[in-house]
Amino acid sequence: MLTSAADKPRSRQQAAHRPEETGKGHLVIDIENISTHYIVDGRAIPALSDVSLRVEKGEIFGIIGVSGAGKSTLVRTLNLLVRPDRGRILVDGVDITALAKRQLQSYRRKTGMIFQHFNLIGAKTVADNIRFPLQLTGEYGKAEMDRRVDELLDLVELSAHRDKYPAQLSGGQKQRVGIARALANDPNLLLCDEATSALDPQTTQSILRLLLDINRRLGLTIVLITHEMDVIRSLCDRVAVLDRGVVVEQGRVVEVLLHPQHALTRALVQESADHPADGNIVDRMRVQGLRGPLVRLTFLGAITYQPVLQRIAAALEVGFNIVDGVVGRIKDTPYGQITVQVLGQLPDLARLENVFGEHSVRCEVLRA
């Protein structure tokens, strides 16, 4: 964005009022080469090794990995519940590892966090759990707090349960209280530590919808960790794959899911539902006795619903035999990924790739 120095204060002010417009592209978190360790039997074991990540404002950033990969540690560095041994964490250009105690406390008040096991205070009612972070700031009068608590209860649809205790709630309701509590001080960032791992699939869906809704309505940046690719698929814009404390792959979710590079990513993608086990499609076709070239086509966005295959078949005078594939959505993006056998006399694969490319369809030759 090109602005003169004089324009800057004005555009900043606008940014505060319209996060959804100006948010994109503004850097919010930059994790630079952080390393951490934990102690087992008096020995230091590395938990994170030289991790660097960038989270953009307003996006939902997912961190996935198997248990023990360091996900919990990584998300906890973002509010310094875990302090890195080395490296910096810049939030809007400010290194939070260098903050004084007071400053860190006010930073944390603007950084919400929800947990796998909710971590609600069992002795406080739903309303008082949500009131707690408001009380901590000492900035609100009683009437103001009551009003804010009512708003938050309404947001998470728990108004009818305001005077209940956590033990009287279901898991999903508890997590809603956790979300309301995390949002109480109008945070800039929401951290989710396996927020749906203790919930049944249906409840998981409702919590994920709520998080997506909050992200859109409030323009709130969300960083979440999970071991489930489905959570990444339905919620995240970008993802990092963590393996034994190292980021092995990161990028846009559609890119990582449809073209996983690292073996772990491939394994995680294949484990998750409704995706073809395409690892050995070539072998499977050989067993089936199918001859001729095999190509994998990836459609992304609106093109997914266009009759591209038919048009190209007509133009190049070839036939396509779909042998494997899936059409679905990743978050809001429609996609299709199919493997086709190319039929016809000596089809020109290079030309085929070009023509698909012209239609914005990615074409990979699996077998010539």
Binding site: L81, L104, R109, T111, N119, A123, L136, R181, N185
Partner: protein, 225 residues
Amino acid sequence: MSPDFLVLFASIGWSDIALATGETLIMVGASLLFTVLFGLPLGIVLFLTSPRQALANAPIYGVLSLLVNLVRSTPFVILLIVLIPVTVTLIGTSIGVPGAIPPLVIGATPFFARLVENVLREVDRGIIEASQAMGATLPQIVFGALLPETLPGLLAAITVTAITLVSYAAMSGVIGGGGLGDLAIRFGYQRFQSEVMVVTVAILLLLVQALQVLGDRLVLHFSHK
């Protein structure tokens, strides 16, 4: 009821017993108040300085822990005698109801503090972590999260301590502490009036029972599990 039985109790000085019961109640009440007043902060400090807690500090925890163990391992009768000069320095006398209170408080405080430490240790770490993540200061975590969360446990600890104080208070009769224990020793033991002993024990039992029922009620009232 046989006439013999009534005759037996006719010799009891009920006004003495009423007076002694009142003294015991005062001793237990006052020493419980001071025990909680000193023991609760001590228990909180023990908890916070213990390994892997917010103020983990091995030397401080080690010293406090040793002091607590020192008092707790000393039989209360010995403690009563050892503390006589301390009591005299503090309040000018070592006998009667006032003279009994300092040794009772000193004897019960480490016991209560250890109970508090254990109760706090039962709190799910996640609650502390969530409070930290919200930007709570340490006092805010202690008073806003830990103490409310452990209120039932703390009430149970106070109940146990109160009952311990009933028996300690009776024991303080040995050094002229006043109350039911004093009565039991002077009449029941030294004058061979067994019936006084029986009545004394019965009243102590009633007192303990009442404290336990009251404590249990309070614990239940404040539990939201």
